[in-house]
């Protein structure tokens, strides 16, 4: 080729020389042209050499790059590089070298990407499990960054181990959750709660029977809390149920409840000592069931309360019976009544009251035992007294010897009675001495129906003495009369019947009869007690030697008179409560008031402030005007309580209105008021019957209460719920 080119170049030169020759170019020109040619050729050569040089450098660079990459991959994968180039043992040209290295790189790249995929897989798995454990809701990040610089097998192994650990934890957690759920389920069924609802409240996934369950920290924690809560509820309910069971058993025991009735609650009572884990029956601790048991317990308790009440009342009756039999006054009668009331209202435990009453009964029984001997003697004495009074009556009967039916029996009785009466003084003596010893021994008074026996005996002796005296007086009188009679007889020859004196005798006796009773009244104090017709345990007890019946009647009469006085003051209390107390018209007042209960006019004047006239004239005036025949009797029969006591009572009445309630009911119902009708146009409505006013029916019952004790309120204030800010006693203003 060069030769060919040289030929072409030589031929071209030859052609140029021919041209030049023909043109006639100078030699200088020819030389310049040839130099130019030579320079241009040089230029072309240089360019080509540069190009080749550059290409070679590129090649070298590529090889170096490839080698570097290879080295990097190898180091990342933790492998020794397969290809180590021995620069001095270069096998061939650069191009061959490059060709040799490229496939190796390819291979290494592929392996790297495989390894990377493995990493990603493992990391993803780890992330997923971590998410499940630490995050309660779904994936948070899906971006897994793989560290490209370390893809070694060692690292991979590490990751695998981590993954395994996580997987283990996950399964453990799952197990735990399932355990929790199981426990929850049993709890819920025992407590009668809805399991699904409870569980769904913690995490919705837990309620589903299949499918994955949430195992996050949060869920487990909440499950724990829920379990704790349910356990607390369970324990609490269990205790409640066991308490109930205990009371059930107690009540059954106490009241001998039949087995059939118990059977229904057997499963409650059999759990009485169970521990928390042992109670597994579904619904055993549900609120409904507990309420059901509770209702049963309260039913039984009510039953018990009523039975206790019955028992208390029975015991109370027993106590009263014993007291009655032994003529004892139950000491704290009102206290027991109060206690019974308290039991009924539920304020006090019945058993306590029962105990008290029991105690009292035993005490009374003991006392009764010690009284027995004396009581027997008292009975004997009483019957003797009865016989005595009978005998008295009998002796007064002038027809006693008339032979009628049964006369012989009476005669016999009289005979016996006389014998008995003769023994009476001795009887009284022994009784007195016995009683005195008893009293000394015991240090208390021997009472008979509330009256001291010794005073009764004393009364009896006094009476007997009086009677004796009277008898003597009568005998003397009789003697005198007989003397007179004989004188008369001597004069006129006739003898009047001794019957004449009968009425006088009676009168005296009657007036005497009231004596002991009045004493008793002044002792007893409260007048209100006395007007009761059924009062006389006293009348019975006082061994009057007189006709018992008559004495009683007289007593009542006397009492009624007393009642009048008391009543009149009470009435005045009603009418004049507020009138100034310092007025001097009390006597006048009395006079008016004595008439007022009997003939109370609707518009009768109350009083004037100081008409301090003498009472006597007023009374008389009043008496004359109102010609009521009861009035003189009221005044004459009992003059002492009339003047003084009523005055004091009036004072008392005026001060404490409460005491007022007492005399009012005692108003004798027999007295009627004809006068009112004459004065008032419509008698039916206007008549003010002095029948006992039922104060309980008075609507304004609160107003009756003492101002000093309680603040009174008007209806309006009560309705408006108005209460005084501070309660302080209201002092009734005294003018």
């Amino acid at each position: 080729m060069p030769s060919q080119m040289e030929t072409t170049c030589g031929s071209l030169l030859h052609e140029l020389q021919i041209i030049w020759d023909e043109v006639g170019e100078s030699d200088a020109e020819r030389d310049r042209m040839l130099l130019e040619l030579e320079q241009e050729c040089m230029e072309v050569y240089r360019r080509k050499v540069d190009q080749a040089n550059k290409c070679r450098a590129q090649l070298r660079q590529a090889i170096a790059d490839a080698e570097a990459e290879l080295a990097a991959i190898c180091s990342a994968m933790g492998e020794r590089p397969v290809h180590i180039r021995q620069s001095d043992q270069s096998t061939g040209s650069l191009k061959a070298e490059l060709r040799a290295i490229l496939p190796e790189i390819e291979e290494m790249r592929k392996r790297k990407s495989d390894r990377k995929n493995q990493f990603i897989e493992v990391l993803e798995e780890i992330q997923r499990i971590k998410n499940e454990i630490y995050w309660s809701g779904g994936y948070v990040s899906n971006n897994i960054a793989v560290d490209e610089t370390d893809l070694s097998l060692r690292k991979l192994d590490e990751l695998h181990r981590e993954l395994q650990a996580l997987q283990k934890e996950k399964s453990e957690r799952l197990k735990q959750v399932l355990e929790h759920l199981n426990y929850l389920y049993s709890c819920c069924s025992v407590l009668g709660l809805d399991f699904k609802q409870t569980v769904c409240g913690i995490h919705p996934s837990l309620g589903e029977s299949d499918g994955s369950k949430s195992i996050s920290n949060d869920t487990i924690e909440q499950l724990g809390i829920a379990i704790q809560k349910l356990r607390e509820v369970k324990v609490q309910r269990m205790q409640q149920l066991q308490d109930l069971a205990t009371s059930l058993l107690e009540l059954w025991n106490l009241m001998d409840t039949p087995i059939e009735e118990q059977q229904t609650f057997q499963k409650v009572t059999c759990n009485i000592a169970a521990s928390e884990e042992e109670i597994t029956e579904p619904g055993m601790l549900s609120a409904d069931f507990i309420n059901y048991v509770k209702a049963e317990v309260s039913r039984l308790e009510e039953l018990k309360a009523s039975k206790m009440k019955e028992l208390v009342l029975k015991k109370k009756a027993e106590l009263e019976d014993i007291c009655r039999k032994t003529h004892l006054i139950p000491e704290s009668d009102s206290a027991i009544d109060l206690a019974v009331d308290a039991v009924e209202s539920g304020a006090v435990d019945a058993s306590f009251v029962l105990e008290q009453i029991e105690l009292q009964i035993s005490r009374v029984k003991e006392e009764a035992l010690s009284r027995k001997e004396i009581l027997e003697k008292v009975e004997k004495w009483m019957t003797a007294c009865q016989e005595e009074s009978w005998l008295e009556e009998y002796n007064r009967d002038d027809n006693r010897y008339n032979a009628g039916r049964g006369a012989h029996l009476t005669l016999k009785r009289a005979e016996k009675a006389r014998a008995l009466v003769n023994k009476l003084p001795a009887m009284v003596d022994t009784l007195t001495s016995k009683t005195t010893t008893w009293e000394k021994e015991k240090g208390v008074d021997f009472t008979y129906d509330g009256v001291r026996l010794l005073s009764m005996l004393e009364d009896y002796l006094v009476l007997r003495q009086e009677k004796e005296l009277e008898r003597k007086r009568q005998r003397d009188q009789k003697k005198l009369q007989e003397q007179l009679l004989t004188e008369q007889e001597a004069l006129y020859g006739s003898k009047p019947s001794p019957m004449k004196n009968q009425s006088a005798k009676k009168g005296r006796r009657l007036s005497c009869g009231g004596g002991p009773n009045n004493r008793r009244l002044s002792l007893g104090g409260p007048m209100l007690q006395t007007p009761k017709a059924d009062m006389p345990p006293l009348a019975k007890a006082t061994p009057n030697t007189r006709n018992a019946k008559k004495t009683e009647r007289i007593n009542q009469d006397c009492l009624r008179d007393d009642g009048f006085a008391a009543l009149s003051s009470g009435r005045r209390g009603l009418d004049l409560a507020g009138l100034p107390i310092n007025q001097h018209s009390l006597n006048l007042q009395n006079a008016r008031e004595i008439e007022s209960p009997i003939i109370r006019k609707p518009f009768s004047p109350i009083s004037s402030t100081d008409s301090s006239k003498s009472s006597a004239t007023n009374i008389l005036e009043a008496l004359n005007r109102k010609h009521n025949d009861m009035l003189p009797k009221a005044i004459t029969s009992d003059s002492t309580p009339f003047s003084t006591p009523s005055k004091t009572m009036a004072d008392v009445e005026n001060r404490t209105p409460q005491a007022m309630a007492i005399p009012v009911p005692s108003t004798p119902s027999t007295v009627s008021i004809p006068m009112q009708m004459a004065i008032t146009p419509a008698p039916a409505q206007m008549s003010i019957t002095p029948a006992p006013i039922q104060k309980a029916l008075l609507p304004a019952h609160t107003a009756l209460k003492s101002v000093d004790e309680e603040i009174e309120y008007s209806f309006e204030e009560k309705r408006a719920g108005f209460v005084l800010p501070r309660s302080h006693p209201i002092n009734v203003m005294q003018v």
Binding site: L576, S604, M660, Q685, A691, A700, K718, R719, M733
Partner: protein, 342 residues
């Protein structure tokens, strides 16, 4: 008895009565208008002759009393402690002032132009209704009482104040600094109502225990000798006396006789001078809470309304009856038996 047979009816019942207990009612001094206060927190104005409701005011609490100012305005005493002036034409109400507790009663004195109120805060207050609204300007004076004020009555310049604890204070309106007389009720039980005689010589006072005392202002012996008390509003049943509170007393403006109303549902008319009962009207359905004669005495308004004497219980509906009064029912009859005492 010469009394004619009682009219069959209890009088004409007003339509649209208050819906709760009636605390008081009063006729106007100028017309037949009737002012009614009630526990339903209202004050109502009726035209009694036309049987029409003319106005209604609602308050913040039960209204315990009301009275007329002139024909076009009035005053109310309310349980919300407030005293109000009510102007009927404009349906307007001004607060006159306040007490420290529910205001129990209110009276207007034509003589002094003052409103007098009594309250459960144990004071009496006088107000000038012409003063601009605002307690500082309308309040004339406060006068402490021994107890909660239950009833007030005015005649001329005399003011009688009845309180709890059975106190009675008599004032002269021209000198309110001191009571002219301090008295204690002659009756033993809580005072329900006090009303002055139209002739100005004394007052009648009723208690919860079916009794009315007739008292006189004159403190001389002769004056005081005239006073007396009598029982009324009682019922005898099966031998027991049932005693009813006497809630209301109303004097006839012309004859000076008076009517009493009790919780037994009866209205009785009495002649105090001759100590006689003149008339008893047929029984009303429930307790008589208030009574008022019209200015000429031809009409008698009767509030038949349970007064809570037995606490909260079922009771007949509250009603207002307006009856025309026959002269024979209220005119004194001195010709009957002369009283031996006087």
């Amino acid at each position: 008895m010469t009394a004619p047979p009682p009219p069959p009816s209890t009088g004409r019942e007003l339509s649209s009565p208050p819906t709760d207990g009636i605390s008081n009612l009063r006729f106007s001094n100028h017309s037949d208008h009737l002012l009614v206060s009630s526990w339903d927190k209202s004050v109502r104005l009726y035209d009694a002759s036309a049987n029409a409701l003319r106005g209604e005011f609602m308050h913040g609490g039960p209204v315990l009393d009301c009275c007329f100012h002139d024909d076009s305005s009035g005053f109310s005493a309310c349980a919300d402690h407030t005293v109000r002036r009510l102007v009927f034409n404009y349906n307007r109400e001004d607060v006159l002032g306040r007490h420290d507790a529910p205001v129990r009663c209110v009276e207007y004195s034509y003589g002094t132009g003052q409103v007098i109120t009594g309250s459960w805060d144990k004071t009496l207050k006088c107000w000038d209704p012409r003063g601009a609204s605002g307690q500082e300007r309308s309040l004339v004076g406060t006068y402490s009482q021994p107890e909660r004020v239950y009833s007030l009555s005015l005649v001329g310049n005399r003011l009688v104040v009845a309180t709890a604890g059975r106190h009675v204070n008599v004032y002269d309106l021209r000198n309110m600094s001191q009571p002219e007389q301090r008295r204690e009720s002659s009756l033993k039980y809580q005072t329900r109502c006090v009303r002055c005689y139209p002739n100005g010589t004394g007052y009648a006072l009723s208690s919860v225990e079916g009794r009315v005392a007739m008292e006189f202002f004159d403190l001389s012996e002769a004056g005081q000798s005239k006073k007396y008390a009598f029982k009324c509003h009682r019922k005898s049943e099966a031998g027991r006396d049932i005693v009813y509170p006497v809630n209301a007393i109303a004097f006839h403006p012309i004859y000076g006789t008076f009517a009493t109303g009790g919780c037994d549902g009866y209205v009785n008319v009495w002649d105090g001078n001759n100590k006689k009962r003149l008339y008893q009207y047929t029984k009303y359905p429930t307790s008589i809470a208030a009574l008022s004669f019209s200015r000429d005495g031809r009409l008698l308004a009767v509030a038949s309304s349970y007064t809570y004497e037995e606490g909260d219980k079922d009771h007949e509906p509250d009603a207002i009856f307006v009856r025309s009064v026959n002269e024979v029912e209220v005119k004194p009859k001195p010709k009957a038996l002369p009283n031996p005492a006087t």
